[in-house]
Symmetry: none
Subunit: 412 residues, 2 copies
C-alpha cells in the first residue's frame, strides 16, 4: 500500500462576499475532490498550530512530520537545496538579490530592474573569481531566476547568528553585516561576508554587462544583497523513520528543498511551471507513474497560492477546478485497493488580505480502510464535521504512514 | 478590526436533573447568545487540557494565550497586582486571612467571623509598624475585603519555595512556615516569614479592635494566616506579542491581576460588583466605548460562578439571561464589519458539585470572515458540533488575533 499526498499551496480561504460568502473551494465545481471527501475520512488541520499563519516552508516541514518549531532554520538553506546546490552540514546559506545602488550605497532598486536570468548568469560567472583573504572559507554563489541568487559559505568556525545586508527597502543604505551574538564565530562570519560582498561590488561595478545596461538606461546590477542566514535542518529522512521510498513532484525551490532534506526523490515534470500556466495533467501522469515505485508521493501545486496572492478569487476557483481534473485523472489511473489518496493545503491564503492566514485547512483521506464519515463535499466547512476532527500538521504523516502499515508500535 | 472577548466565569455546567437534564445554558432563554452561535463559528475549549479543572487564574492566563503550565506562579502575586499593589519582579506575595486562634495556636475561625473591612483596616494599619530584624527585607501588608489581605516580601535572597502557615481547617494548629527545598533562600524566607507572623500576632493579640470584638462576643482577629507564595509571572505583554492595545473590564482582583500582567488597561465600571447584583448594562456600555480605542476588550462576568458555587442553578439560569441582555445591547451598538465578538467561559463550574470541573466550555466567534457553521444555539452540547472543533485555552488568543490580522507568519 502507498500514499499520494496532494498539497495545493494556499488553497484554503475565507468566505468571500462576491462568491456569495462561499470560499473558492466551496464555489468551485469539483467532482473528484468531492469523491475523495465522500469515500474518505475528513477533517481540518492547523499546519503549525491554531491561528498561526505558516510559511510554505514551515508548513511543508510540518506536513512531512517534522516539528518546525524544532527544526526550522530559515529559508536560505532550504531554497539553496531546492535549487540543486549541494549544501553540506555546517554550510551557512543566504538568499540574495542582484540590486542597484548609487555611489553612496543607497538602494535604488532591490531587484536591479528584474534583470534577465541570462545577464545575471554572466555576472555570477565573474563573481566566481573572487577570493577571500581567509583561505579556510569557500563560497558558492549561484544565480537562479532573474535577480534571485543563493550564496553558501563553507568552512570551519561559521555561524548563522549574523544580520542581513539587505535593508529591504529602496532609499535605504546597504547594511553592514553585523554579528547577532557575542560568539567569535558570529564576528568572524560577519567579517567574511562583508569582505565578500565588497569584493562582489567591485567586480559588478565595472562589469561589461552593467556598462551595457546603463547605456540602455537600465539599472545596473552593481551589488548583491544578502538575507536570512540559515543551515540545513538536522532531520532524519523519511526513509529512515518509516522505512519508505518517497518522491516529490514540485517546482517551487523552497518546497523541493524541504522534500530533499526529508530524503525524497525530486522528480521533474516537463511543463510544470510553479505558476498559473502549469501543466496539471503532466504532473498527474508523473504522479501515477511515481506511485508504481514509491510508498509516498507528494504532489505540490503552487497555482492556488499564486491566484490568492493576486487577490483573484475567480482565478482561484478556476485553478481548483483544474486541480480537480488532475485528481480525476489520477483516480481513474490508480489501484484503489492499494493507494491512499490525501488532499490538503499547506495553509490558508486569503484572496482578500492576499496573505497567508492562520485559519485551518481541509484534509481528506480516501483509501481501503479509512473510517469513512458523512462528509460529501471537499471544503473548509464540511471537512470540519469529518471523522478526523481537528488535527495538526505534524500529525498528518504518522496518520498516513499508519494506514499503510509503516508506523512502529510504541510500547509492548 | 477588533475583538470583544466575553468571559462568563464558570458559565459552563453539567446536565441537571431539575432542569430536565439540561445545563443552565441550555435551559436559559438567550437570543443574543444564539445569534452569535448562528452567525459565528463554534467549538468547545479545554481551558487547560481535557479533564483538568482550571482555577480562574490559570484559565485566564490560558485564554490570554499564556501557557499556565509554564507561567503560573501562584495566586498571591496575581491577586496583589489585581488589588493595585505595585508588585515588583522578585517580590514574594502571599494571600492572607485575618483569623482567630486560641492560646494554643489552634485555629477557631479561619475568617475571624468575617471581620468587617473597616476593622481589618485599623488592624492592618497597626501592623505597618512591625520591623523585621533583618533590615534587607521589607514587607507590604494590605487588607482588601473583610478578612482577606495580601502580603508582599521584598528584598534579596527570597524564595517562593516555602510552605503555608494556614492549616486550611479549624481545629488544627497554625503551621510553622517550612522551606520546601534545600536552598539557603528558602530557609531564609521561611525564617523571615515566621518572625513577621509572630510579630503580627503580638500586635493583634492586644489590639483595641480585638478587645472590643471580644466584649461584643465576636472572634478576635488575632493572627494572620498565609498561603500560596508566588511571584509575578514573567510574560510578554499582549502589546508586545501582537502589537495591540487592549483593555479589561473585570472586578475580581485575581482576573484584574492576570490582565494587568498581560499589559491590559484595567477599566473601572460604576455599579460592577463582581457578584450577582452587578450592573450588567453598565459593563456593556463601557465595553462598547472601550472598543472605540482598543484592539481587544475582555469583558469578565463573575456572577455565573457565584451562582454555581452556591449550587443555585435557577439563579444561574437567570444570570445567563441577564448576560444575554447585556450582549444584546452590545450587538446593537457595535459595527459588525469591524468587531469579532467571542463568548466563552473560563471553566465549567458544576451547580451540583459546587466546584470547578474539567469539562470543556463552549466558545463561539462571530465576525466578518469566520467560516460560519451550522450551530444555531449557544451551549455546551451544540457548540461541540461546530467548525472550530475542540481547541485549548491557549489556542484562543492566536485564533482571535489571526482574524484581525495581528499574528505573525512563521516561516517564509
Amino acid at each position: 500500500m502507498r500514499v499520494l499526498l496532494v498539497v495545493a499551496d494556499g488553497m484554503a480561504d475565507r468566505p468571500i462576499k462576491e462568491l456569495g460568502w462561499k470560499t473558492p473551494l466551496e464555489a468551485a465545481e469539483k467532482e473528484a475532490l468531492n469523491e475523495i471527501a465522500t469515500m474518505g475520512v475528513c477533517g481540518i488541520m492547523d499546519p503549525i498550530s491554531p491561528g498561526v499563519p505558516p510559511g510554505s516552508d514551515t508548513a511543508t516541514l510540518s506536513i512531512l512530520g517534522y516539528d518546525p518549531l524544532k527544526y526550522y532554520t530559515g529559508r536560505g538553506a532550504l531554497e539553496a537545496i531546492g535549487w540543486g546546490l549541494a549544501v553540506e552540514k555546517g554550510d551557512v546559506c543566504f538568499r540574495c538579490n542582484f540590486a542597484t545602488i548609487d555611489d553612496d550605497f543607497t538602494v535604488l532598486d532591490r531587484r536591479a530592474g528584474r534583470i534577465s536570468t541570462e545577464e545575471a548568469s554572466k555576472l555570477a560567472e565573474s563573481l566566481q573569481k573572487v577570493r577571500l583573504s581567509n583561505g579556510s572559507v569557500k563560497f558558492i554563489f549561484q544565480n537562479t531566476i532573474q535577480h534571485r541568487a543563493t550564496l553558501i559559505l563553507r568552512g570551519p568556525h561559521l555561524s548563522t547568528a549574523i544580520g542581513d545586508s539587505d535593508p529591504y527597502e529602496t532609499g535605504k543604505k546597504v547594511l553592514e553585516v553585523k554579528p547577532l551574538d557575542n560568539s567569535p564565530e558570529a564576528s568572524f562570519t560577519a567579517r567574511v561576508l562583508n569582505e565578500l560582498l565588497e569584493k562582489f561590488h567591485h567586480v559588478l561595478r565595472n562589469h561589461e554587462v552593467n556598462r551595457e545596461r546603463i547605456k540602455r538606461n537600465l539599472p545596473p546590477a552593481n551589488i548583491i544583497l544578502c538575507r536570512g542566514a540559515g543551515t540545513i535542518p538536522n532531520v532524519k529522512p523519511l526513509g529512515e523513520i518509516y522505512g519508505i521510498k518517497s518522491a516529490c513532484i514540485a517546482v517551487v525551490s523552497l518546497i523541493r528543498g524541504v522534500c530533499k532534506i526529508a530524503g525524497m526523490n525530486l522528480l521533474n515534470v516537463e511543463g510544470a511551471t510553479g505558476s498559473l500556466d502549469t501543466d496539471y495533467m503532466a504532473k498527474a501522469k508523473v504522479a501515477v507513474q511515481a506511485l508504481q515505485e514509491n510508498d509516498l508521493v507528494v504532489l505540490h501545486i503552487k497555482a492556488t497560492d499564486v491566484a490568492s496572492h493576486d487577490g483573484n478569487f475567480y482565478e482561484k476557483v478556476k485553478v481548483i477546478e483544474k486541480i480537480d481534473m488532475m485528481i480525476s485523472y489520477i483516480l481513474d489511473n490508480i489501484d484503489h485497493d492499494d493507494v491512499y489518496v490525501t488532499v490538503t493545503a499547506d495553509h490558508t491564503t486569503s484572496c482578500l488580505t492576499r496573505k497567508h492566514e492562520g485559519d485551518p485547512v481541509p484534509v481528506a483521506i480516501m483509501g481501503p480502510y479509512v473510517r469513512r464519515d458523512d462528509v460529501i463535499e471537499y471544503n473548509e466547512r464540511s471537512c470540519a464535521r469529518g471523522g478526523l476532527g481537528r488535527i495538526r500538521g505534524i500529525d498528518l504523516m504518522p496518520i498516513l504512514m499508519n494506514f499503510i502499515g509503516k508506523t512502529k508500535k510504541f510500547g509492548a
